[in-house]
Amino acid sequence: MTALARLSVLLTAAAGCGGGPEYAPVSGTVTLRKQPLAGATVVFSPDGAAGARPATAVTGADGTFKLQTNLPGGVTKDGAVVGAYKVTVSKFVPPKGMTEAEYAKKVAAQDGTKPHSPDSDLPPRVEAVPKEFSDLAVTSVTVTVTAAGPNEVRIDIP
């Protein structure tokens, strides 16, 4: 056995004996009223398991997402720790009668170059996803992430 091969065996063994939690890739799609839901926050909250971490994602334009686990200090792991989760989907949109572009314009106007005037206040954003899917206390969506996979999650919100 060459020295290089020996080293690679040693490194592989070292990587395997970290003793940390096991991550598995998780991906899926979110639809709202049969349309892909873009820009929604998907949160997998650990359901009981000690030591598990929440995993999150933001959906893309086609409503698809790939779950990530963000650890402190700017470390991101792909996927979620193997285990059971409660799933919520949430998206804040501007209040009725206001488009996202109009809202963004109002945000940009608050750059601090002008004195504050009360009529330039931002109205609070509102939840676009029904409570049955956005509220952790009442959500019925549960997913068990397995090491074997495939962890494909489809969330159709009526």
Partner: protein, 363 residues
Amino acid sequence: MSHPPPRRRAFTLIELLVVVAIIAVLVGLLLPAVQKTREAAARAKCQNNLHQLGVALHHYHDANGFLVFSRGPTQPRQASGAAHRRNSDPRGNEDTISGLVYLLPYLEQGPLFDQISGGTFMDGTVPILPFGMPRDFAQQYPPWQARVPLFECPSSPRSPEYPDRRPYNGRRNYVLSFGDRIQNNHTSTAHRGAFGFNSRTRITDITDGTSNTVLMSEQGGNADAADFHGLAANNRSGMNTNPSSCLATVTSGRYTVPVMSARPMTSLWHSGLASHVGFNTVLPPNSPNCINENWGDGWGLMSATSYHAGGVNVLLGDGSARFVPNGIDVGNSSAPEPATGPSPYGVWGALGTRAGGETVGSY
């Protein structure tokens, strides 16, 4: 008879290269050691600043009978009884004065405090009310441009002053604890931590014990508008109902959603706006920030952050500075914010509350 010139002994090219290589190896060994020593020195200074701020907080308490508020009404407004009033009067400060301003006399910054509390002039002519004016005019108002060495931690890369926007002066790397209060932590008077809007907490109000309660933490900044230090994701959902949703805003420590880039957090030491004065003990240290912004005046999740490897320095109520690792137990980050009772956010949450009634585990 002429002699041939004596042959001079000289270094060959090989010998020279060997010497250069040896020097290179030595420098390679030494330089990382120097860098590590520099960071260790910076970290010690950051920790010492926290200790000094702790002494100042206790001196203030001795003189006044209560700790400073994180944000509060200034003296003229306080007499009229109105609190948290927004206005467009450029001479007042919209009740957004920071508690750090009241610490100045206890940090050997008496003259600066006298200038602020006595009222001064904007652009040299327009008279300003005592305790100054809102954040938007830092450019024209001299006291807000002052740098206070004890408010700055040398480990944090550089002051995010954003010269392309406005000179947001007043670098500040230390923040006051809101405990696990999230919703409306900019104006709420139902305080969970040692500080809040007009809090005036007495030491005797810290019933969890001063050595079990965090008063202050570090906050690291960055001039990079996508780095998780020093900036906040804007107008996110779920901040107080499921704080872990804030973790969705970053990938490898960089925001992938809109941030409040016009208002870097580690600036404006004079400002009591939540994102400029406070932090909460909900998400683990060195997590992203999420704020519900309105003119910079928002509420949300402000994390304790630093550039020290593996954690942050915090100041406890007994005046000691401790290092808290990133891996501190944070309980259930998906739990909704509690109104009363023990914190669901583990040891970190328990350290934040002043009267949560928890026992604080080791960290």
